[in-house]
Symmetry: C2
Subunit: 398 residues, 2 copies
């Protein structure tokens, strides 16, 4: 039995206050009268809610605006600097941290690169990145409203990192650790989910409600936005589409399965194929995504073919995804997005041949807009949303 209770009457106020605030955020600068007509609320109701929001410093009044044939409106603005959010993309060999205002604008950022570090070393770098952003955050009414971390692995619903294979982490409760250290709300989210949310809020996914975000790095992660919300599955383990079987009795994967998609369509596959074909970049230098990218850029036919092959296999998996989710949009994100020019064509060709006609109606394939920042901005946005959800009841600004 659900303990879900749809109760009382001052829920109405909370909801309406939320609605007013969201309307101001979306359409600011705006007058009280306009808010009333947009929301359908009474002018008086809006007036009183607005005055509370002003008290809470969440919005500003910038004085009279231009008249449209009557009394001049008092212009309201969202006070986007009433607080700040920290979003971290914790990658396999980098940490990207951003500091954003309450609108999600990137105010400060810092990237640290590394290779093969232990958990202790990485967490030290993580803490110093957070500290760095803390120090650079302007003073504000609410200060830092929370910390969000995107991780390349599976996260349970209570924020424990259960398995991050590429980091070699297992069962780490980063949420508890950070909450204790900083005494702030902390959100841990899968990197692909965070990226999907970032693209939806700030990138190419703005106008869509059913989005499949495919994060192609060394592995493949997928973030699903269904009916406008992230879908995490039962234990928060969804989106493990990198381990979808696309070839029965195919290559052996370390996950125990065979024929997994990410063995055919990720950076990992690209590098392996390049090695097998004996493609050489600079002598004595390890082959890498960047070096292959340069080779292709210089017109090396063999390398371009490798990228095209990745595109083709991406198409196979994406085709499955489309037949499963019937999304409005598929977004290819993470590093591979930079190779769009070679990947796009074979991918689309595979899709046109294989996807059911009625799935192609209103379907769009896009490449990431925020590029490497989508996950960090996405978790920062999650933090902001959580802040507002708990903050529509009056809270004291400084």
């Amino acid at each position: 039995m659900k303990t879900l209770q749809t109760w009382n009457q001052h829920v109405v106020k909370k909801e309406n206050k939320s609605l007013v605030l969201e309307t101001i955020i979306r359409t600011s600068p705006i007058s009280r009268a306009k808010v009333a007509s947009l929301t359908g609320l009474n002018k008086g109701t809006v007036s009183s809610l607005v005055s509370e929001l002003l008290d809470e410093k969440l919005i500003n009044d910038s004085g009279p605006g231009k008249s449209s044939g009557g009394r001049r409106p008092l212009i309201l603005h969202f006070n986007k600097t009433a607080g700040f959010s920290i979003g971290i993309d914790l990658g396999v060999n980098y940490i990207l941290g951003v500091l954003t205002d309450l609108e999600g604008n990137n105010i400060q950022e810092k990237t640290v690169y590394f290779t093969n570090l232990s958990y202790e070393e990485i967490s030290k770098k993580l803490f110093s990145t957070i500290d760095y952003l803390f120090e650079r955050s302007p003073t504000s009414a609410y200060g830092i409203v929370g910390i969000g971390i995107g991780v390349p692995g599976t996260v349970s619903k209570d924020g424990e990192i259960l398995l991050a294979p590429n980091l070699d982490w297992k069962n780490i409760n980063l949420k508890a650790i950070l909450q204790k250290k900083y005494n702030l709300p902390v959100i841990i989210e899968n990197e692909a989910n965070a990226g999907a949310h970032g693209e939806k809020r700030f990138g190419v996914g703005k106008d869509f409600d059913n989005i499949v975000y495919v994060s192609v790095g060394m592995g493949i992660g997928v973030g699903l936005i269904l009916n406008g919300n992230i879908y995490k599955g039962n234990n928060g383990f969804s989106g493990e589409l990198g381990h979808m079987t696309i070839e029965v009795n195919g290559l052996k994967c370390r996950c125990g399965n065979e024929g997994c998609w990410e063995l055919y369509a990720s950076e990992q596959a690209l590098l392996k194929n390049a090695l097998q074909q004996g493609i050489t970049t600079s002598p004595n230098k390890e082959i890498s995504f960047e070096s292959l990218y340069k080779l292709a850029e210089n017109g090396d036919k063999e390398t371009i073919k490798l990228f095209e092959q990745i595109g083709d296999y991406l198409g196979v998996g994406i085709n499955n995804i489309i037949n499963t989710f019937n999304p409005q949009q598929v977004i290819i994100g993470n590093r591979i997005a930079s190779a769009q020019k070679w990947i796009q064509e074979p991918l689309k060709k595979r899709m046109i041949n294989q996807t059911l006609w009625f799935q192609q109606r209103d379907l769009q394939i896009d490449f990431s807009e925020l590029s490497t920042h989508s996950a960090a901005l996405g978790v920062a946005a999650y933090v902001i949303e959580a802040f507002f959800k708990n903050d529509t009841q009056p809270k004291n600004a400084i």
Copy 2:
């Protein structure tokens, strides 16, 4: 911009009235006091809402019950016969119609079999099935509250059947036709979605919120319940998992794709393989699911192997589904469910080998409980739910 407005204050009443009604339905027989404590609402509030529900004939008062040390409670019951619902499973070679009360109990049913009929002939049979159930419905306060149809094909959000390949139907607006003919609310739903809903409401899926219902008949359809709600995708075309690729460059499918799952794991595949192996049943008789079932039942090793092979391939696709959706439960439904004894083992074996360990936690594979009735009962339930959604504001019973 969404026109979604979270507004006013008598929404509260509607919600609470819904809550009270649902509580009574779930836990009847029950007293007003118990409803109050279960919902968290005030006794007075419950009293007034209950009196409205009594006026609307949606609940009954059966007089005093047993005391537990104080005044005897007045026992409330859900008036499950205040109205009736019609649910139809429109199959490829049959029509199954059920008449249910408002609790979804099967009151009357009628099945018609046929082969290779035109749209006109089928719709005639459909109408006569509906008429049959109409005539047998008891008189009640609200009469028949609506008609629901489950169809083996894709249905758009406004109820148009876009493509039902096995019926050879295309772009048929059955909803408009029925609404006009019967002047009642009509719900058209994909058969797999309906089946999923049926199993969730009345079958093995009762206690789960993330369910994948795999309907294996001649083809494979999938109904997805995510976060407790049916997920239909952008255009209502989701769940076309029958056309998921499980073998690159595999068998050619009439959908234009290659290596589609349903070519390997459905009745269609079973029959084809039987033919190829030269398995003979009764001479001069066409091979069929039933005849193969009998052969296997009699211990024919070859035939059993065919079923096991289906189980294995079902496992491959289900494995993909699990890695995608991380559901709590997978339900195998439709006719193939009757072959559980041969299918179950190879299916589970494939899964244990291939599914990620953390996906197997809290995961359950079940076979359908309602068997052939899940889709019909499912749409009937949809109709009932739609009735209550529009009926929590007062409506006049007869």
